[in-house]
Subunit: 134 residues, 2 copies
Amino acid sequence: MTQKQEQLSKNQQIVLSIIEKAKGPLKAYSILYNVQKRGIKAPLQVYRALDKLIEIGKIHKIESKNAFIACNNSECEISKATAFSICNNCEHVKEIKNTKLSKYLSNFQDNSGMKYKKYNLEFFGLCKNCKLKQ
Amino acid sequence: MTQKQEQLSKNQQIVLSIIEKAKGPLKAYSILYNVQKRGIKAPLQVYRALDKLIEIGKIHKIESKNAFIACNNSECEISKATAFSICNNCEHVKEIKNTKLSKYLSNFQDNSGMKYKKYNLEFFGLCKNCKLKQ
DNA sequence: CCTTAATTTGTTATAATATAACGTTTGTTA
DNA sequence: TAACAAACGTTATATTATAACAAATTAAGG
Ligand SMILES: [Zn+2]
Ligand SMILES: [Zn+2]
Ligand SMILES: [Zn+2]
Ligand SMILES: [Zn+2]
């Protein structure tokens, strides 16, 4: 039952492999240019694959950048709870794995007692490298 | 010194007033249609006003919706630390005011000890109304 | 007051991101 | 093997956002 994520379609596999090889988040049209040799010709083919990969937790969208990054956290397939660290200078993006943080946010209730099934958190600052260079 | 935020330009005032009157987040082109009577004719005029209003903390961008909402939290001008509650059903959006949460996130350090100057958190779930209706 | 810099404006064009609509093909399941 | 769901291919179009340039307005200092 937990092998559904392996049964990716051809286009889904192509798009995922590009994203997994990348050092950072990729934009949809950059993915498109990268996969045109492999037969994917139209934006919609990319977006459809992206939608599916997001749905099953293999990748995430960095909303502030309209870009897509491979998941680095095995629990994302279930939880849909994501947190990222983004460098304002070099644009380096890293998915944050932090059990305390994810527990804190998953259990968070607002003033009216509302609880949430899903969240996305984007932190901004300077990464180690960029801090040194300043 | 704390009166700079009052010295908005004409276009900035127009755009802000539309956003403040709205019940929920507005999209840039929806704002454009709403202000064409008042002399703003081009997207860029709206986007420039939006940029400024975001910079001074009067409004925020809901990244997952590409929409803009008036700030509901006097501390945002300084902190650039934002959190929202978003209903998946009716799309109702509310800025979360919660001192514990903002302190927790402002003080958060990742595994490498990196601290962040800015964050944006978007929670998704069902609002009270929509929960009842189910 | 005058001048100089900075900000804001107006305008046209275009870039970048994303989806609609349609019909076909492939894969699953009973 | 029929029936359904998922994925595909394709064209066109919608939506979101910025580039580039010149003019007008505003702020600040001498
Ligand atoms: Zn993940
Ligand atoms: Zn960096
Ligand atoms: Zn705010
Ligand atoms: Zn709702």
